[in-house]
């Protein structure tokens, strides 16, 4: 019997560590931002993650769900999650108060946004709705190391002006000249002066040279098909297009198989994939 027993971790992969919510901010009617830190300081100091990775969050007695890390990976004091009130765990989280204790496992995911490869290239970030959340850690990282990157553009589509997330950050970036942001809403209100309609239609206006550009896409499942068509029209290379996928996850560590698409597991092989990796995976997009 050849059993791999290398990292003989006494801790089972299913045991969460205790963490505390230190700050809660309401970002939109349905989303809240949570600052979280592990109770154990050492654990918090050693908690390193890469942009695009996710954690599994337990509310004790209630359940567990995966969420993307939304903060700058260089921030070692705490990390941020932005959560939509969607079901059992997320709604319970929304009911919680600052100081509440939760459980965290992770970070998980071998597939992350390749911020190293992107250096000295243009980066085009396309987000739909909640898809902005996973991009946040990448954007914040890039903005901190802005000089390493060339042109940066964010294309962000939201349902309506109210649902635009991270308004503070966006406002701050808009005032900078080294990053351009296009926001489009499906349902504008009276005050809205920006773009209207799905964000896909902003893509033709992008004039980054394809061979020199990385594209990152994240949004609801329906969005991917259309965005990819547009990107292909622009001749962006599939190996330079990165997507973050979402599937049902129970374990986050490649055992429960729920996030299985073809020969990939979103939790361990993703959640970020290059388009090339999944180009022929039926059901992926």
């Amino acid at each position: 019997m050849v059993l791999k027993t290398k990292n003989e971790n006494k801790n089972s992969i299913y045991v969460p560590d205790i963490a505390r919510i230190s700050r809660i901010e309401k970002l939109s009617p349905t989303e809240k931002l949570f600052n979280i830190a592990f109770e154990d300081e050492e654990k918090q100091n050693n908690f390193k993650f890469l942009p695009g990775q996710f954690i599994e969050l337990t509310i004790f007695g209630l359940g567990e769900a995966p969420f993307c890390l939304a903060s700058n990976p260089n921030n070692r004091e705490f990390f941020e999650l932005c959560v939509r009130n969607a079901g059992n765990v997320s709604s319970a989280l929304h009911r919680m108060e600052e100081g509440s204790k939760i459980g965290i496992r992770g970070p998980f995911g071998k597939g992350y946004f390749p911020f190293e490869k992107m250096r000295n290239h243009n980066v085009l970030l396309i987000a739909g709705g909640l898809g902005l959340v996973p991009l946040m850690s990448l954007i914040k990282y890039i903005m901190q190391h802005r000089e390493d990157y060339r042109e940066i553009m964010i294309v962000y589509g939201a349902v309506n002006p109210d649902s635009i997330l991270f308004k503070n950050d966006i406002g701050y970036w808009s005032n900078r000249s080294d990053i351009s942001i296009c926001i489009s809403v499906d349902n504008p209100d009276d005050k809205w002066t920006g773009e209207i309609g799905v964000c896909t239609k902003l893509i033709p206006r992008v004039n980054f040279p394809p061979e020199d550009t990385y594209v990152v896409v994240c949004g609801p499942p329906v969005m991917y098909k259309y965005v990819i068509v547009e990107l292909e029209k622009k001749n962006f290379k599939p190996e330079n297009i990165y997507l973050s996928l979402e599937r049902r996850m129970e374990c986050g560590v490649g055992k429960c198989n729920h996030c299985h698409i073809g020969n990939k597991l979103v939790c361990v092989d993703g959640p970020v994939f290059s388009l090339w990796e999944i180009i022929n995976l039926k059901e992926a997009i």
Binding site: L62, G63, G87, N88, S91, A92
Partner: protein
Amino acid sequence: MSKPKVGVFGFTGCGGCQLEILNLEDQLLDLISAVDIVHFTEAITEHSDNYEIALVEGSVSTEHGVERIKKIGNIAKIIVAVGACAVSGGLNCLKNLYGTERAMELVYGDKKDWIDSIEVKPIDQYIKVDYYARGCPPNRFEIVDIVRSLIVGRKPEIPNYPVCVECKRNGNTCVYEFGMTCMGPVSRAGCNSRCPNSGSGCEACRGVIDDPNVNAQKDLLARYGLTVEDIMEGFNLYNACNKVPTVENKNN
């Protein structure tokens, strides 16, 4: 967290569902301390009209019952239908098949006029039901799970997969192999497949799943020599009030 106030109410049925609550044994004391039971005819004398959660057993079969269930529906914030009678009318609905008038005459003869009896209906025909603890009798652990979920603030998880899933988790040999028939493949799990565990076929006391493969079930039962009438009779045992898909699919 303040303790939710719970009322347990009985309508037309056998009392077995309330009994299953009393049968919680080790968990009964925990239940009593987790919630405030303010109304439970079978077990306590005090009764109160101040409750948030109503666990309702039995189906509605009298004019008086209609008034009572509507009152409960007005007071309670959350209504849980407990047991087949409350959920789908259960066995009581066999009376509808026979006909209320005829049934009254058969049992009470010329004295039938004194009887308050109307067509049997499940409670959701009169009020909005939030959760269903199915089964005859219901699974007492599921009742606890519903109450517990309501306390911690999540939606109770009530399976929508067939009994076969639980049957296999329990490692049973399928009763079809013994030449018996079973409603398991189209019936809703949650009972821990207790009938197949005991060597007899599932009777669909929890009703059918959302998307049952009725045609396959019909073919299967036909392979075991059952006629459409037999199949319908079996189905009607607990589901006569419902238009079960089998009825609609009879001719295709």
